[in-house]
């Protein structure tokens, strides 16, 4: 196994390995370690944002599988997030309350269930995806979000109704509660560790999918679907797989995000949520797992933390939704502006910036 350049692989297995260089292996281990000790170093408020970021990263990886790898533009991610979030909330909900609830609070039950129900929804949507390409598909998936928003608003026994909402799923692992402060760790520390560990699991799984036969079929479809079909990739099957996998990730992410947030309502699953995930994928880097994670952390953790400081720096920006202009408006504008700037100046996203830095130091002191 070679270290440094040039990257010569002596076997196919080495070329396709999960971590194809020693540096990557070491860096991954180091990052996981840093992630695990973060709760001891960082205040709870920031951990809460990090937990949201990790959970959102799972959803972003999902969107990246279908949009970045398989090239099927989906504006319907909010729909799948909603399916997952409500499946989990309904399963873990209190059977005695006025809302649908089954009282199964074990995370080992509701998390896979949220993913599977969302994946099923993905399979149901797939026939449209198989027939449509490009922008047609984007608009149909957008329609899905609008229809879902309507159904969720009307289905009050499940969702609690607009602006009222319901309690999200409570995370419980055989009696160990993640949503209550414990003897060793606080609530935010627990939730952060939970989402972080799950992010590592889902991230590795995503990378594994991407390098496998399925992932290569996805890339072939993205690059030219007819050509892929000609060389023997079953288009209908792999597009369906892409949607199912992506929705599974989205379902789990939806369940987790609102478990961290605690409470949610149907008014959150709008087109803007889909756009946020598109932004995560594009800002992070389409077609890369690490890019999705960077994008999600930037938009869910770094951006809210930065905009929190804005009112202090720029006094004309208010901190409350009633102020005009306020930080939430600034945040939304930043989403839009970041997407535009990245697409124009660095289409490979944060991952591309990282590649540039890496290549610079790899070749240093030579510029070629």
């Amino acid at each position: 196994m070679s270290v440094g350049r040039p990257l010569l692989h002596t076997s196919y297995a080495a070329d396709m390995a999960m971590f194809n260089t020693l540096t990557k292996k070491v860096a991954f281990g180091a990052l996981v370690l840093v992630g695990l000790i973060t709760p001891l170093l960082v205040p709870d408020r920031l951990l809460h944002l990090l937990a949201l970021g990790c959970a959102a990263a799972i959803g972003a990886i999902g969107l990246n599988l279908v949009t970045g790898y398989a090239g099927q533009v989906s504006l319907g991610h909010a729909f799948f997030l909603a399916v997952g979030a409500y499946t989990a909330a309904a399963l873990a909900g209190d059977p005695a309350s006025r809302l649908i609830g089954f009282g199964v609070e074990n995370i080992l039950v509701w998390l896979p269930a949220a993913g599977l129900v969302a994946a099923l929804a993905g399979v149901l949507v797939a026939p449209l995806a198989v027939r449509l390409r490009g922008l047609y598909l984007a608009i149909v998936t957008l329609g899905l979000v609008v229809v879902a928003e309507y159904v969720l608003t009307e289905w009050r026994s499940l969702t609690g109704g607009r602006d009222i909402g319901r309690r999200a799923a409570t995370a419980d692992l055989f009696g160990y509660r993640f949503d209550e402060p414990g003897a060793l760790l606080t609530q935010d520390q627990k939730l952060y560790l939970l989402t972080f560990v799950l992010l590592v699991v889902f991230g590795l799984a995503g990378r594994n999918i991407a390098r496998s036969r399925v992932g290569r079929a996805f890339s072939a479809i993205r690059d030219r679907d007819i050509a892929a079909g000609v060389i023997g990739v079953n288009l209908a099957r792999y597009k369906t797989t892409a949607f199912a996998l992506s929705s599974f990730y989205a379902g789990c992410a939806g369940a987790l995000i609102y478990t961290v947030a605690g409470h949610f309502g149907p008014e959150q699953f709008t087109l803007l949520l889909s756009v946020q995930y598109i932004a995560m994928v594009l800002i992070g880097g389409a077609g890369t797992i690490s890019g999705s994670i960077m994008g999600a952390l930037l938009l869910m953790t770094v951006l809210p933390e930065l905009t929190r400081w804005l009112p202090a720096l720029l006094p004309f920006i208010g901190a409350f939704p009633t102020d005009r202009p306020n930080v939430f408006q600034v945040e939304t504008i930043l989403y839009g502006a970041l997407v535009i700037l990245f697409l124009i100046f660095e289409p490979r996203g944060l991952f591309g910036i990282w590649v540039r830095i890496r290549n610079y130091w790899k070749a240093w002191p030579f510029s070629y």
Partner: protein, 295 residues
């Protein structure tokens, strides 16, 4: 029966607003092969501009002025963020316009503020009796305005040099370029036209009510309309718009009799349901050109 006919007139009125919006999308698509998700923001901007201009200038002057202003805004957006992306995949440009929409709408919403802003049109909710039917004047006005604009547009494309250039560019950009057509000017004009149409549509969508942030949801309905009619078909946009308007208003009068689990507001999502149904059978819409696929 009377209720049905009245609903159909309402549908044609609302549908003509959708048609105007959809025409903007289709004009941009034909020129640049991109769906501009920025249209909702232009629509909102146009309507808000009218609310500011209507005081000093009056409705009939404010609307053309606002259309002109929005056209200039659209022109600027095209020049700054869309032109550098010529030749990039359509999806990338579409997402850029989505970013423009998200950012621009926040700015425009800032101009709406917390007070009720009205376009102060001459019709309001007044009705008139036509052939025994009670019809709101605003729906007639929408239909008449849309008809006039559509006729003018089609004449423009059919009889003017620039219209010919636009048709040529949408047919084959390189060939048009070789014939001396300024494709850049075609891009700019198509965005300006779409912006102006969106402003007029936004104004008429706000007639009889007020301009607020949720107005852009109406612009989203233009998306199922263009898919329904076919992305690259101008007549398709008009027919699709009227169809969606009709279906929506007719559903609205019947939905009260439906079981309550259907929800009381199903007509809001009918455009999307209609779109999905049509797409399952005709993937390129009713009038769209089937894509020729080459490897």
């Amino acid at each position: 029966m009377r209720a049905l006919l009245e609903a159909m007139v309402r549908g044609l009125g609302v549908g003509s607003v959708y048609a105007l919006l959809a025409l903007g999308f289709v004009i941009i698509y034909k020129a640049t092969q991109v769906i501009s998700f920025a249209q909702p923001a232009f629509m909102l901007a146009g309507a808000v501009l009218v609310t500011y201009l209507v005081g000093p200038a009056g409705f009939w002057v404010a609307v053309p002025l606002a259309a002109l202003g929005t056209a200039v805004l659209a022109l600027g957006v095209e020049r700054v963020v869309v032109r550098p992306m010529v030749g990039k995949p359509a999806f990338v440009v579409a997402i850029i316009t989505l970013g423009v929409d998200v950012a621009l709408r926040v700015v425009v919403n800032g101009f709406i503020g917390t007070d009720v802003r009205q376009v102060r049109d001459p019709w309001g909710l007044e009705t008139v009796t036509l052939a025994g039917l009670q019809v709101e004047q605003r729906h007639i006005a929408m239909l008449v305005t849309a008809t006039a604009l559509v006729a003018a547009l089609f004449a423009f494309f059919r009889y003017t040099r620039m219209g010919l250039a636009m048709r040529a560019a949408s047919y084959d950009q390189e060939a048009a370029l070789a014939q001396g057509v300024s494709v850049g000017a075609v891009f700019a004009l198509s965005w300006a036209l779409a912006g102006g149409l969106a402003a007029v549509a936004g104004t008429f969508a706000a007639v009889g009510s007020s301009v607020d942030g949720s107005l852009w949801l109406i612009a989203l309905i233009a998306l199922p309309v263009i898919i329904l009619g076919g992305l690259d078909s101008l007549p398709g946009a008009v027919v699709g718009g009227l169809m969606v308007g009709l279906v929506q208003e007719v559903t609205a009068i019947y939905q009260e009799d439906w079981p309550s689990w259907f929800g009381g507001n199903f007509s809001v999502v009918t455009p999307y349901v209609l779109m999905m149904l049509v797409l399952l059978f005709r993937p390129y819409g009713l009038f769209g050109t089937r894509e020729v696929e080459r490897v």
